[in-house]
């Protein structure tokens, strides 16, 4: 089960994976890649290229329509419901639309994964406060999401995703609503986790960030995936600029 991950087994393995929503067109086509433990990837691609869709297969929200996804060495279509829940508890997700609970304070939103995991209240209090201070929300702990700015909500969502020290962290546009210096600060949070062994995948349009941090990238184009190593960035970036991409 998820607890007995063989250290050698990849965090995720996609093998000939295709995906479509209901009877719509294929939004992911023949995806092939492996995430090794402790790796750090950016995920890029134009709007609608399939980044969120690909992540949703990773965080066990959808099953592929074709091909096979393995997480922590387990084929996802063979997992029991409790096993899926255990795997989900090892993952942290920053959703593109945050998905904060409006009836809970920032503090309680961040505490949610710990409460689900059954952590002690005293521990929860300490860890959550610490993290909220780190992301610069020490004065917003008791605020409800509707009272927060876009960037503040985003930071709550990030804090919630990392509070459990996940084995696999996925962030969908986690820096879309903050300025560059905050974006870098948040990226450093992910880097710290990554140093502790967390595998990180960050979908972003922020070319500045991608260039600043030297990591490989999963690039999607109309549902097809290319894995690009850091030395190929320059070439890619110039291509993007020539095309006059709307991002950044």
């Amino acid at each position: 089960m998820a607890k007995q991950n063989k250290l050698s087994s990849p965090v995720a393995e996609f093998n000939g994976v295709s995906f479509r929503y209901d009877s719509g067109p294929e939004v992911l086509k023949d995806i092939q890649f492996t995430l090794d433990p402790g790796s750090f990837y950016f995920m890029t691609g134009e709007s609608g290229a399939g980044k969120t869709s690909l992540l949703s297969l990773l965080y066990l929200y959808h099953l592929p329509t074709k091909g096979r996804v393995r997480l922590f060495g387990h084929a996802v279509d063979e997992l029991t419901r409790p096993a899926k829940a255990r795997i989900r508890r090892q993952m942290g997700v920053v959703f593109q639309d945050f998905r904060l609970l409006n009836h809970l304070t920032a503090f309680d939103n961040v505490a949610l994964p710990l409460r689900i995991a059954g952590a002690k209240e005293s521990e929860i209090r300490r860890h959550v406060s610490e993290l909220l201070v780190w992301v610069g929300l020490e004065n917003q702990m008791r605020a409800y999401p509707p009272e927060l700015s876009g960037g503040e909500k985003q930071r709550v969502a990030i804090a919630r995703a990392v509070i459990n020290r996940p084995t696999l962290l996925m962030a969908d546009e986690p820096t879309g609503n903050v300025d560059d210096s905050m974006a870098k600060r948040l990226l450093h949070l992910f880097l710290e986790l990554n140093k502790l062994g967390t595998t990180v995948v960050i979908a972003t349009h922020n070319e500045g960030l991608i260039k600043h941090f030297n990591f490989p990238r999963l690039h999607l184009e109309k549902g097809r995936l290319n894995v690009i190593q850091p030395n190929q960035y320059k070439e890619m970036a110039s291509k993007l600029f020539n095309r006059g991409a709307e991002n950044d």
């Binding site: 066990l60 409790p82 829940a85 795997i87 090892q90 009836h103 809970l104 689900i116």
Partner: protein, 296 residues
Amino acid sequence: MTKSNIFFTTDPAKLFLPWMSMLMTFIAVLVLAGGMATYSSVTRWQRTVSGSLTVQIPTYTELGASRGEMVDREIETTLTILRSSEGVLGATVLSDRQMSDLMAPWLGENAVITELPLPKLIDVTVDPNSRLDIAQIKSDLATQVPSAILDSHRIWLTPLLRISSGIIKLIGFILVLLSLTAAFTVIYATRTSLTVHEPVIALVHMMGAGDLYVTQQYASRSFQLTLLGSLFGFFLTLPIMAGVSFFIQGASFDFILKQSLSLGQWAVLLSVPFLLSVLAFITTFKTVMNYLKRFL
């Protein structure tokens, strides 16, 4: 914050369930109490008088003169009539000893029965399965022993038994209907609540909350809300039951609690809130478990 209000802040079930269970319990307890009171009264009557028939032979005239040997002859005739009737298993004259036991509650232990103008009592044992022709016995006695007085409890017991068994069946039917209504109400309230909380449930599910975690929170909350309303409904029935018994029996409240319903029957009534809450728990549990299947 406790873990339970992750879900339940703006929840329609919050008011719905307690009100529903209060009302259901109120009706169920009253109906059940009525049914049990009827049942125990009937069985009590049945136990004391079933199959029994008594004939009294007066020992003194209305003017107070002893009827002397007449009495023995009349007893003899009466016994003959009774013993030759179909369905009569036996007929015996109560001894003075038995009479004094019978009268003890009124006259005290050592009353000198023989000095009192008491009638002779003939206790008749009747086969409960036979078709006893009471009218025939009555007319035989009227012609041969005009002074004999026949006490038969059967005459009014039979229709009473029929009515009361009808009432008990009706009550069973009402209770079944109430349980079904309660179950449907709980299902409806739970579904509404689930729809309202869909984003929350989807989120905690994605965070790795197990089905049992979510289900147990819903089910135990249903249990609590139902128990709350239900206990309230139960206590509301107490003054009503007391009032009804008071009117029927003209007795004190204390007497009602002790006499109208047995301890076991009170336990049955008190089990209504708990059974209803358990029903709510199980129904909610199944509803939520079923609902969660839509999430991968």
